[in-house]
Subunit: 279 residues, 2 copies
């Protein structure tokens, strides 16, 4: 039995291998087990890896918020979060609770992230600046979380809009992340202190902040996959929920589960109570 | 009594206030307590804050190394570390031990960081590329740590060398960090997979990874400062070492303790056993 652990691409591999096994009549099974910090695998309620990445984000953004809050000036921090196609990780920051361990005297504790932008919602520079100005009426230091994959209504990535014909000192066209682009936009349109932070691979590799539930469920998902194998199954993907189950791997292969439109607020810059319940 | 906690600038404020108190004959004392992740305050053996930042770096770079190690291709990761004038933090990565908690089968565990570049050593693109190629003979994935303040022999910052006349989509001249510049250099000169990671404010605000020794010593330094105050002292800075002591704040005001030249290896890309002993 081959147990193949991964996301949408990996489940496509499971399908192809299973097809090959059947065609050749081989005595072999292949079973997919979900694992992606993007949380974008269909059918399964969630994917192992996501909770750990979300935990890293919640802890880190709280600390970043504290770091910016101590200065006595207006500031905006743009935190760029992984998610090229879907916004699950950025959206999870809507569930980040204020950090009560290190209270700052006189500063009312509020959730660290004020604005959230996902690839699922067409992005607009004008709306973004207007949103920030709105939050600035109440908060001296504003934190906005953006998925790396946010794009304009015409489909162009915000993160590649800095490319237009520009080259660096080596003559290469320059690729800038969404956070950097928005940092410069705020510099021009608002002019306050601004910083963009790319959380980079730390989101997926910060093992010291792994979610315990994630570890326990990952192991249990593996055990369930072995049961499936012993029952002779092949070409399936294990699914997680209140109970383990499985689905035809074809239902997940190269398919994307987007962040539900009804879980995004009407302004397109945050999540609904329903989403909060999911997280 | 005013207890003023901070780095070189703050100690300058301590001096100025003490001078003012003396001139006016006021019944007031001012006492400086060191705190800087840069570890660049003179006289004191080290400064509170540094150990916590170094701990964050060691943990995180180990995880980044693991993240890059799992791919079966040549890669270079450039980690940009805080330190505009001095390289203490980047140098501390020379003491980062391999992470034995999550061993990868068949991969011999080695210290995660192969090359270290400090502001104290004139930087050369040619030497950097030659160093990387040298390490690539032994390691599939190479990790280089650079201080944000590395500069060429003529004093120009590597991190600003991308500015030359270029503007972004908003017409602003573009400021690029040292890591990004080196990422593009490697892309051009070596052509393998390359990524630069800016550890940004997380280095100074990751409270969840605070060093316990750091916390204990900070509190003790505060208590010692109170003793100094009760003894009638003013215009001084507390110093840390095997024992607490104090020095005239003027000895630290606007002065910088550089990473010692004799603790840098002869190739200028790592630290000596003596430095390791200090860390």
């Amino acid at each position: 039995v081959l147990f193949y652990i991964g996301g949408n691409d990996s489940m496509d591999t499971v399908c192809k291998l299973d097809k090959y096994i059947n065609e050749k009549g081989l005595d072999f099974q292949v079973i997919g087990i979900p694992k992606t910090i993007d949380n974008d695998l269909p059918v399964t309620h969630h994917s192992p890896g996501f909770k750990s990445a979300a935990k890293y984000l919640a802890v880190t953004v709280n600390e970043i918020a504290r770091d910016s809050m101590v200065y006595n000036c207006e500031s905006v921090t743009v935190v760029e979060v992984m998610g090229r196609d879907t916004g699950w990780l950025a959206a999870s920051l809507g569930a980040a609770a204020p950090n009560d361990f290190f209270p700052v005297l006189g500063v009312p504790e509020s959730p660290p992230v004020h604005l959230i932008y996902l690839p699922e919602v067409p992005f607009s520079f004008e709306q973004f600046i207007s949103d920030i100005k709105q939050v600035q009426k109440q908060h001296k230091s504003v934190i906005a979380a953006v998925s790396e994959g946010i794009r304009f209504a015409d489909g162009r990535y915000v993160g590649s809009s800095a490319q237009s014909g520009q080259t660096d000192i080596f003559g290469h066209s320059y690729l800038s992340g969404a956070g950097k682009v928005l940092e410069r936009l705020i510099q021009r349109e608002i002019g306050c202190k601004v910083r963009s932070i790319e959380l980079n691979v730390m989101q997926r590799c910060s093992a010291h902040l792994q979610s315990v539930t994630d570890i326990v469920q990952s192991e249990a998902a593996g055990a369930y996959a072995v049961e499936c194998a012993l029952n002779g199954l092949s070409g399936i993907m294990v699914t997680l929920g209140r109970q383990f189950s499985y689905t035809d791997a074809a239902n997940a292969a190269n398919k994307i589960k987007y962040f539900p439109a009804e879980w995004i607020n009407s302004q397109g810059n945050g999540i609904t109570p329903e989403a909060l319940k999911y997280f």
